[in-house]
Symmetry: C2
Subunit: 425 residues, 2 copies
């Protein structure tokens, strides 16, 4: 019988549809913007320097140094997840691009691969991450695994394996090796260990593929075998259908607000609605129960805590603060009198009728009116609107000039043009 | 309440008793002999070359090249487990030295550490691996984790953390990082992925420690926290008492047969008994249930698979093949007509009354006789007898001259003398 391992090996040779490739380039643009902005995080400087001291190589490290592919994948995966602002897929349960792109790009530079093949390999890898995440299922995530890293490592392996042109037999070994290396715990959330998990997944992809190519053998069915990754890691072995119907990558979510993804449906629901404490008797936010323990800090006092607060970010949004800008989330904004006055009027409760991607905001206005705002992150967004929103986000992260150059490179045909954009002068 | 994480952090500063240090030096001697002999395995040559191409460094790679500590730990852990001939601890459930020694030695060369501190750090690390293995318990192993690699990574982290002199707070981060990186599946048994698991564990020890030193933060209780390594990886959280009573390292087992340790009690039980297929109606091997999924390949076709087969190795032993010699385990011996004829008569079954270190072999002879052979690997062995047997094993692996020089170095006071013995000219 065919298992997910067989399915993925076959899927490595699939031809991605056009909408999947377009989405991949959008995610590449967004990932690179998050990575370049994240590289400014001084906390990671010593870690990066220590990796670079191990040796030089052909792959660009975000910032501008270069290193062997595995090292670059490790560093770039870590730095590009430092802001936690990169893309998400709710079914995957994780951030799909951050494990795959650093692996594919680093290996591509080592191979000097054509850019369109890089995009195709990344698309296959991201789709494979999501498929693996679906196959592992919610139990795997709930028990404590960081699916971005675990499912992500398999996606990164499939992507690099395709790029390198591994034969099916070698790819089987690569996935087998990955099964012994894929790891990462949610226990790291709130520490530097969370972005590191993404970096490790990217490195695993590069190493599993290169090691399989160098003749390393491994378990035949690393994912679904009796002692494989799924059975050992609380996987649910849900049915998957690689390449059938619309590709999952086409329903990736991008973050347009520099805070927890659980808050995004509310912020989108608010949209351009503007009001202050004087306008409103009460605001009622209804959200999926899952989020109540994730991002419902009632009275945050720091910029970091603000990123996990419905009341704080809701008040900021109604008052016109730019929730898409990293710089908006300060300790000061948590003491702002106007924000506090509005924050106090926001009540949050769970509503099981809502999905995880939906939110409803009810306003009781002093004018006597009642308003109800709703948003579902799964609502289709045209590629044009998405591109525009991602562009605005990149401008806020990098400034006009860099954002434009990165956009051109991500839409272009040159690997070198893209990796040049990872250099910070 | 104090958890295993707290216990290990405290234990990192313990003073090992004399008998533990003596055993550590015996295991160092044995590990190095296995490593140098294992480096002759051409299968790993491309893998090793690919790692070395990443960059140079101060740590000796078995064979004679040098590399950064993390790379040397990865390669040396892999090569020294290639023969699967290194030491074992049955309570740990794994090979304790192979994850710890490559990590400690590599970092020691980077630090130019005094040899007695290296031995002490390795002793702490090996003991910590066994303690972690005990804490994780049998469920973790049974579901499919390769405890050599998982528990071993924590031991390697504690050993390198001690050697580097990490403060308790940093060591806590190092163990937290290790919790996200420790991995390895039993599904790799019978493939090159098995020794690679050991190498990865050694590298994890070096990296977790160096990264914590470079300021990387992680989960506060990576092992026992709510989403920690134990709860996510089917750990049983058995009670452990670090440093209380005799140290576990003093009950390490060394292999005197070049195959899976699960087969050794049978091979010792057979001893000098010789017979062929013509002599016997049937042979019934009874063993502890644990081994049935580990080393009971019924019809191996490769030398590597033969090392995990009761039927194959039992037949070889009865026919007088030297199971202590690496060279005995070939693809050809799996096709040998005499061996096959006897192999077919060997039935293996589990017997819960036996411990993991016991085996019983019943012979039904055509002469009408019934014979019962038994052995228990836990039968006490003096340090003198052990040293003598290890010496003989090293001579068979390396020849007289090298074995003697290695013995002197392992008992000596110079790190450089020891690492010089890893060089093959």
């Amino acid at each position: 019988m065919s298992t997910i391992t067989d399915q993925l090996i076959k899927f490595a040779r699939a031809t991605p549809p056009e909408d999947a490739l377009i989405m991949m380039r959008l995610s590449l643009f967004d990932w690179a913007a998050c990575g370049v902005a994240g590289a400014a995080d001084a906390d990671f400087a010593d870690f990066v320097a220590a990796q670079l001291a191990r040796g030089q190589g052909p792959a660009t490290v975000i910032g501008g140094q270069s290193a062997p592919a595995a090292t670059a994948a490790l560093i770039n995966g870590t730095l590009s997840h430092a802001l936690d602002y990169d893309d998400t897929h709710f079914a995957h349960i994780g951030h799909p691009s951050v494990a795959v792109l650093p692996a594919v790009l680093a290996l591509a530079e080592e191979l000097d691969a054509p850019f369109d093949e890089v995009i195709e390999a990344a698309t296959i890898g991201v789709e494979a991450s999501i498929l693996t995440g679906l196959w592992l299922g919610r139990a795997h995530y709930q028990i404590g695994y960081h699916q971005t890293a675990t499912a992500g490592a398999f996606g990164a392996t499939l992507a690099t394996g395709r790029l390198l042109g591994l034969e099916p037999k070698e790819l089987r070994h690569a996935l087998g090796l990955c099964a012994s290396m894929a790891s990462g715990l949610k226990a790291q959330f709130g520490t530097m260990g969370k972005p590191l998990n993404a970096g490790l997944a990217a490195r695993t992809g590069v190493e599993a593929t290169l090691w399989a190519q160098s003749g390393m053998t491994a378990a035949k069915d690393g994912l679904a075998g009796p002692l494989g990754f799924g059975p050992t890691h609380h996987g649910q072995a849900a049915e998957i259908k690689p390449g059938k119907g619309a590709w999952h990558i086409t329903t990736i979510s991008h973050k347009f607000h520099a805070c927890c993804h659980g808050l995004h449906a509310m912020l989108e629901a608010i949209g351009d609605e503007r009001l202050s404490a004087a306008d409103v008797a009460g605001i009622h936010v209804r959200t999926h129960p899952r989020w109540m323990s994730v991002c419902n800090i009632a009275e945050p006092t720091t910029g970091l805590a603000a990123k996990f607060s419905y009341a704080q970010t809701g008040a900021m949004k109604f008052l016109g603060h730019d929730t898409g800008a990293i710089a908006s989330f300060t300790n000061d904004i948590c003491r702002d009198a106007e924000v506090l006055a509005l924050r106090e009027k926001i009540k949050v409760s769970e509503d099981e009728r809502l999905s995880e991607t939906q939110c409803e905001v009810s306003l009781t206005l002093h004018s006597g009116g009642l308003r109800r705002l709703r948003h579902d992150l799964m609502e289709p967004m045209t590629l044009e609107v998405r591109a525009e929103k991602l562009g605005a986000k990149a401008v806020s992260l990098l400034g006009d000039t860099r954002a434009d150059a990165l956009w051109q490179a991500a839409q272009g045909e040159s690997l070198r043009d893209l990796t040049d954009q990872l250099v910070i002068s």
